[in-house]
Amino acid sequence: MKDKTPEDRLQPISTGAANLVFVAPAMLLFGLFVLFPLLSAVYFAFTAWNGFSEPVWVGLANFRRAFADTVHLASYWHVTLYILGTLFFEVSFGLLMAVLLNSDRFGFSFMRGMFFSPMILSMSAAGVLWAFVLDYRTGLLNSVFDALGLDFLVQPWLSQSSTALLAIMFVSGWKFAGFYMIIFFAAIRRIPRNLYEAATLDGAGPVRQFFDVTLPLLRQNMMVAVLIAVTGGFAGFDLFFTLTNGGPFNSTEVPATWIIKQAFDQNQLGYGTALTVVLAVVVTIISLIYLHISERANVIRY
């Protein structure tokens, strides 16, 4: 590799194959439970296999089926919408709250802690809680709309196709906005105060300051946040499983829920594995393109 990092040039404390003993435990564990399954996934993807019998080689049949499987194709449309939703409800909302909660005044540190708290709940706990919040008859949300006289907003949020995906995006925002808030908050704290003082002297109000000072300087953090949201979005399973499990009528089916259903409910492990290979390829391609773009984007210094 052409660019050596400084640490590579330091003199190692010790050389020789005996040092392998320090990486061996990690590499064995990683090899057995991550790399080996990954490689065997590539093999199983070309077989018909129900999990009990011997896998039978079927060539590209699984992939041909995958690209004709309308629910499978729709699951990528849903996950794309979901990721766009998380960019709004998680990343943008998190950024807004980072600005709003950026103060040394009394109470703000406590509010940041409260805002972050959903992050530590498990997805299943969050899912079960929100299944109740969004419940048609007894749900908190509909009760609030009812109390406010906004009857037209009372909806069976999770059990109709038109709102289920939106509801999941919203819950996801509730759960993860705190994560992005803290990332942006830490970055905002590193911006030198004098930039804002200069902007104030130039007559820029809070809104102008946000767009002209804060936002350009957070560019790198935005890049990282979007990458996390996109790769995390494709892997999304827990919330979908707990809230709707792909329903109603497959309207919230995402790749992960469809894969698990095909493989374990239908006992089509070969086909399910082919779907996981498609998912891995899609995530890899998108990550590579994204990293390529973000490397080229110039980094602003201050």
Partner: protein
Amino acid sequence: MSSATDRARSPGEWVQFAVAGIIVAAMFYPTVWMVISSFKSNREIFRSPFGLPAEWRWKNFVEAWDLGGLGGLYLNSIIVTATAVAISVVFATAAAFAFTRLEFPGRRIFYRLLLIGLLLPPPVVAIPLFSILRDLNLLNTLWALILPGAAWSLSITVFLMRGYFNSLRPDMEEAARLDGANVWQIFWTISVPMVWPAMLTMIILNTINIWNELMFALLFIVDEDKRTLPVGLVRFYGYHSTDYALVFAALTITTLPILILYFFLQRFVIAGLTATAMD
């Protein structure tokens, strides 16, 4: 001299405080609603969703604890999490030490291989992992969660520990080497105490991830008495979805202790969970 926090708040700051306060309160309200509802009867949850319970029904908790076998779920979650976290952090620290302080054949290749795990979504290997665990006779044992849980935590842990090692100069380790200490002694007596803060961060991050893991736990465990909390909770909801009070009680028992712990250890937890995205 008076600092910025001593001055009276400007009108703008009051607006900021009020807007932030309303949003944060609205976001936190579902959690409060969950705790309050867990003390009510089903009728009351339906009739007065916002009010305090007329009678604080502590027996909801007793009932949920017994019916859901929550004690067993807690115990399994603790065993799985403690073991997997210990394995992942110790293995990853040793590997990060080797990647930054030692030279050996395959150093770069091994590190690149580990990085694959950073972007790989877990569903991708779920199916082959299922058959591997079955061949190893580990399916439906807690090891089916411990080993993959630890393995999946390695990439991020090695990556972040390596960054931490690189931020520290190896002067102490080199001095010990000149004094005739062997690599093993250097690792345990000098490096580990030196990177302890980063290990603590990784312990917290991995604890939360493994504690909350759902998909592997759903696929690799069949027996009810070997389930962990996330699966147990989803199944409990499945069986008792119309018994609101009971499910709220189970939710509260399984989340409130964690939330309280979080508010005590907030600073460390936030540092741990956001370590992924911080440079």
